[in-house]
């Protein structure tokens, strides 16, 4: 992408104006260097508009919900259920009652895995669960635990050298024993966007349930769960300008109705006696105890904020930034990128290694320049093993990321190489 083309795409919205919404982007770190935040795949920053809603909630409307017969209780309930409707619309869910608030993506995925341990749909020896080698630990360990507990077998798609799913084994992996296919929509390590709709159709053809980890998709591109044709879809508030402490599980109503409860307690019941309880209708059946009320309200505000800018525009912006970053990284000697080298069917998380410099050390040098990236396996150890490494450095962008920040990253990499005695690049 030429500088001109880049500027064209970036013109979709005014990044500098967007940046003004994010107070933290004015932070100085490490001896007064301006913060260059390239760790948005880890967690996103929060705009003022969203924080204002949070403060207003606590200062004026705070109350427990559903249970309360008073003015504040009504206001809080309306704000909470209103957030559910916003989130449902954001992902084109057919019905707001299909949106369950959890504490994060991980709980959402565990919820599904746990309820499949019990009841008529409970897994048994001989049943198979299929995941992929590029999953986040949060979409691996729950299924390992489920298989351990039920005697079902865990299988997985491999990853090609290009960082795409290896679909050559699909006929073997997705078969009449397959009860669940669970896969990531956009990889947090490779950036790969997976062909979810196609795989869902294959899995449905053999009667399997399809679970999707959309943690890195929903913040960055328009997502339509109905069009994807999946059964469950999980994502998390803190990566989409919302708060920590809240995640979302969307599920098809018939399935949520049919599956057994997960956590038991207040709010999820219809009636309780000491001997036996019956359960409330969804989504409440899956929301035991006081839910993340203020967090839901703040997530609703985040959805408003993102919708105001436009998810298509955000996706465009990120694609431009990603193209630019990939092109610039490509010119740095000794840098090897994990995952697709082109910004096509690719999210904005770019993991890479630098020959001769450990990712921790790369990150440390960058940090000393104010550039925040992540080093390690990013909760994706298996996919690192797949590429024969134990860790990488990851830079990831969002709607507030600028080309100048990518330039700062590149400069920092040159410095890291120099400091640790790696080969200098011919082109800077």
């Amino acid at each position: 992408m030429s500088e001109a083309e880049l500027r064209d795409v970036l013109g979709v919205f005014d990044v500098e104006a967007v940046r003004k919404d994010f107070p933290i982007l004015d932070r100085l770190v490490r001896d007064a260097r301006p913060l260059v935040y390239l760790d948005s795949a880890n967690t996103s920053q929060k705009p003022r508009q969203v924080l204002d809603v949070l403060t207003d909630f606590y200062e004026r409307h705070n109350s427990n919900i559903h249970r309360a017969t008073h003015a504040l209780g009504e206001e809080a309930t309306e704000a909470y259920e209103g957030a559910r409707i916003k989130v449902a619309e954001f992902i084109s869910a057919p019905d707001a009652s299909e949106v369950v608030f959890t504490k994060n993506s991980s709980e959402a995925l565990n919820l599904v895995a746990n309820v499949l341990a019990w009841g008529p749909r409970g897994l048994a020896p001989g049943d198979e669960v299929v995941i992929t080698e590029m999953e986040h630990h949060s979409n691996i360990v729950p299924w390992q635990l489920l298989c351990e507990r039920t005697g079902a077998t865990l299988r997985w798609f491999g990853v090609t050298d290009e960082g795409r799913l290896d679909l050559s084994s699909v006929d073997d992996l997705v078969n009449e024993r397959t009860k669940v296919l669970s896969l990531v929509h956009v990889s947090n390590v490779l950036g790969t966007v997976n062909p979810v709709a196609e795989l869902a159709a294959r899995a449905h053809a053999v009667g399997a349930l399809v679970v999707v980890d959309g943690s890195q998709a929903v913040p960055h591109m328009p997502v339509d769960v109905a069009a994807l044709g999946v059964d469950f879809y999980a994502f998390t508030g803190h990566k989409m300008c919302g708060p920590t402490g809240i995640g979302v599980l969307w599920g098809r109503r018939e399935l949520l109705d049919e599956l057994p409860p997960f956590l038991g307690g207040g709010e999820m019941i219809e009636t309780v006696t000491m001997e036996k309880s019956s359960y409330a209708a969804v989504p409440h059946k899956y929301e035991a105890g006081t839910p993340p009320i203020a967090e839901a309200v703040m997530l609703g505000a985040a959805v408003d904020y993102l919708t105001g800018i436009g998810m298509a525009a955000i996706a465009n912006h990120e694609q431009a930034i990603t193209s630019y970053a990939l092109a610039r990284l490509d010119r740095v000697d000794g840098v090897r990128i994990l995952g697709p080298a082109e910004a096509f069917d690719r999210g904005g998380a770019i993991s890479f290694t630098v020959d001769g410099v450990h990712p921790h050390d790369v990150a440390q040098v960058l940090d000393s320049e104010g550039v925040a990236v992540r080093a390690g396996h990013h909760c994706g150890r298996p996919v690192h093993q797949r590429f024969g490494i134990s860790a990488s450095t990851r830079a990831s962008s969002y709607l507030y990321t600028t080309p100048a920040e990518i330039d700062a990253l590149i400069a920092g990499l040159e410095q890291a190489k120099e400091f640790f005695g790696g080969p200098p690049s011919h082109a800077a």
Binding site: T271, S278, A280, A281, H284
Partner: protein, 162 residues
């Protein structure tokens, strides 16, 4: 004072002297519905003849709003067709969801128009709807049990029995 906007005289009258209360036989279907938040309960029976609602009887425990609503419901549906009952249900439901902005059709809702004020209080809307949900559920079951469902009865959506 706003209390009267919710507790209209008609509501208090129905609460103090509920119509058609008590469980009666014969009946085609009986359901039990609960408001999970407050524990209000209703057991409600429906007796149909063809598409005609011959009887609705109930036993319930709950607040003034839920009690009065059940009483008003029986007045509106007993002796009418299922289709007319569903029309009243739909009209009442949309009134309850109107957040105080509803313009109810008095011809359809009769005494039930008095609940307009309740719709401003979301926590109480569930109270007002408890008996109606039970009635719809019981009627769907009764129709399902009937060999030949009425031809002009509107299709009854799935009950919300939880």
């Amino acid at each position: 004072m706003q209390l009267e906007s919710m507790y209209q005289e008609i509501i208090l009258d129905h609460y103090r002297n509920p119509h058609h209360k008590g469980l009666r036989a014969p009946f085609d279907a009986e359901v039990h519905h609960v408001n999970p938040t407050c524990g209000d309960e209703i057991t409600l029976r429906v007796k149909l003849e063809g598409d005609k609602v011959v009887d609705v009887s109930y036993d319930s425990a709950g607040c003034s709003i839920s009690q009065a609503s059940a009483s008003v419901l029986t007045d509106l549906v007993i002796g009418h067709t299922v289709g007319e009952g569903i029309t009243a249900h739909d009209e009442f439901l949309s009134l309850m969801q109107s957040k105080g902005a509803g313009a109810p059709d008095e011809d359809v809702l009769e005494d039930a128009v008095a609940f307009a004020g309740v719709s401003k209080y979301p926590a109480r809307v569930k109270c007002a709807l408890l008996s109606w949900m039970a009635w719809k559920d019981a009627t769907a079951q009764a129709l399902g049990a009937q060999p030949a469902a009425s031809s002009d009865g509107a299709p009854i959506p799935e009950g919300t029995s939880q």
